[in-house]
Amino acid sequence: MHTPISEQASQSSILGDVTSKSKFNRAARVRFTNRLFQSYFLFSILALCFVLALVIVFIAKTGFLTFETVSFKEFFLSFNWTPEEEHYGAAAFIVNTIILTGLTLLISVPISIAIAIFNAEIAPAWFRSFIRPVLDLLVGIPSIVYGYLGLTVLIPFLREWTGEGLADGIFAAALVLSLMILPTISRISDDAITAVPKKYREAAYALGSTRLQVILKVIVPAASRGIMTAVILGMTRAIGETMAVVMVIGNTAQLATTLFTPTSVLTSNIVMQISNVEFESTWNYALHMMAFLLLAISMILILIIRFIRAKGGAQA
């Protein structure tokens, strides 16, 4: 860091000109500041990478200790999770997580894409400028609020509707999650659809398409990669969501055989049990392994997003 400054100083003394001297000093300062900020920015990103690596290593290290006492086969294929009797089958949680996420997407994707299309293509400008901030606001609502509403409003309603005694389960959780990820998906899809060049629409109309044909055959396909990104982002949020799910799913370690069976997913099981287990126990390791699975799933999904983006960067 010192060398460039002294170099500059000697250079300026050779030139001996007052204006160029101050100029060079200024250049030196700029260069110094640049260097400083470069190392600061580099440090920031490296610190983040370091923490991330630490998290992954720690969770993986603790998680894989599970397999000292539990076989791979039992952990991934057994549906029997009774840690107090040394049964550590996590298959029920994995399957439940997949079912819950699938059902959530099934409910929320059609609705949120409809919202996005309406917003971007059909709605008048004043309505659009009203609904976009509203959706942004919804994205920011803490999940515990959704969970509490689910518990106090949705569940009693479902109970009445189905005649179930409890009504907690996959269906209630999927409804709450759908509401949660709906704004995320529709806002991002909205942006993707708005980004479709105007000439596409004009060309389609010029060829005599109806509005529906323009939307379904031209705009949505053109924005499909952006919409895919939106869906995957919504999906990662749904998979990782914990508090809202815990409040409405019933937290019972068993396979969801019906939509209203009280059950448990990876996240809800971790949060329910982690504070009640001993540090150095297979149970604790198994919970860490489940956390690692969640991490792995999220990472795979994010890699898929990058892949889609890279392929279709020009379009979306």
Partner: protein, 286 residues
Amino acid sequence: MNVFKKFTVLTLATMFVITSAFAGSAAAAGDTLKGKITINGSTALLPLTLQAAKEFQKLHPKVSFAASGKGSVTGPQAVKKGIADIGACDWDASTDVPGFKAFEGQVANKVAVIPFATVVNKNVGVDNLTTEQLKGIYSGKITNWKDVGGADEDIVVITRAFGSGTRVNYQAKALGGGDIVKKSKNYKEVGSSGDMKTAVATTPNSIGYIDLVYVSGDIKAVKFNGVEATAENVINGKYKIWSYGYYMTKGQPTGEVKAFIEYIQNKKFQTTTAKKMKFIPLSAMK
């Protein structure tokens, strides 16, 4: 300033009287006590701990506290690892309980009496349950309220997650060591006393169990073997579902930790602050 000084003198004086009356050794330590006491463990005992720490600090300003609450089992665990000086726990962790092995070398210091109650949703007509009936309900043999004298409605069982201190005590005292059996329907696990209250209050035909202090409004405590869940019945020995709250320490407590535990166990603290917070004074128990 003057008032404050007077107050300090007064509290110090009372402290001396108390300590000399109840613990000779602590009195000798007087206000020379200093250091940091770290307390981990049970959320049920946390309010009591915080209040006691606040009062204790007025007497010994050089002692500082770091208290946090999580599951009961984290208390003795933190003590074992040397993270905490005191591990608050809803059961005696120096002995084996269902699901948890004894923590070797730890001493259990009783600090409070925690009564528990069987609670039901307001819409349930039953107001008394026997040990046998509760066993039947929690093991899944009794699934309809009409079998225990109520309306023809399915029983919704709400229980705390395995490892909860409340669950450990309830299973031991109310179910006579009986099992809580997972069911595919009408069965829900919750993570805390607050969740239990919300769940029982909002679910018709539900049954659960909770610290007595939480019973109010929307949930109804039922009699256990004909005895009402009240502080009086715990004291006179008729009501059996209660337990001591413990401070676990590594070996016998010493120094400021000992002084603090003695402060909590002291009759004055027990009959004023602890009682105000709806714990039953230790001294009232026989």
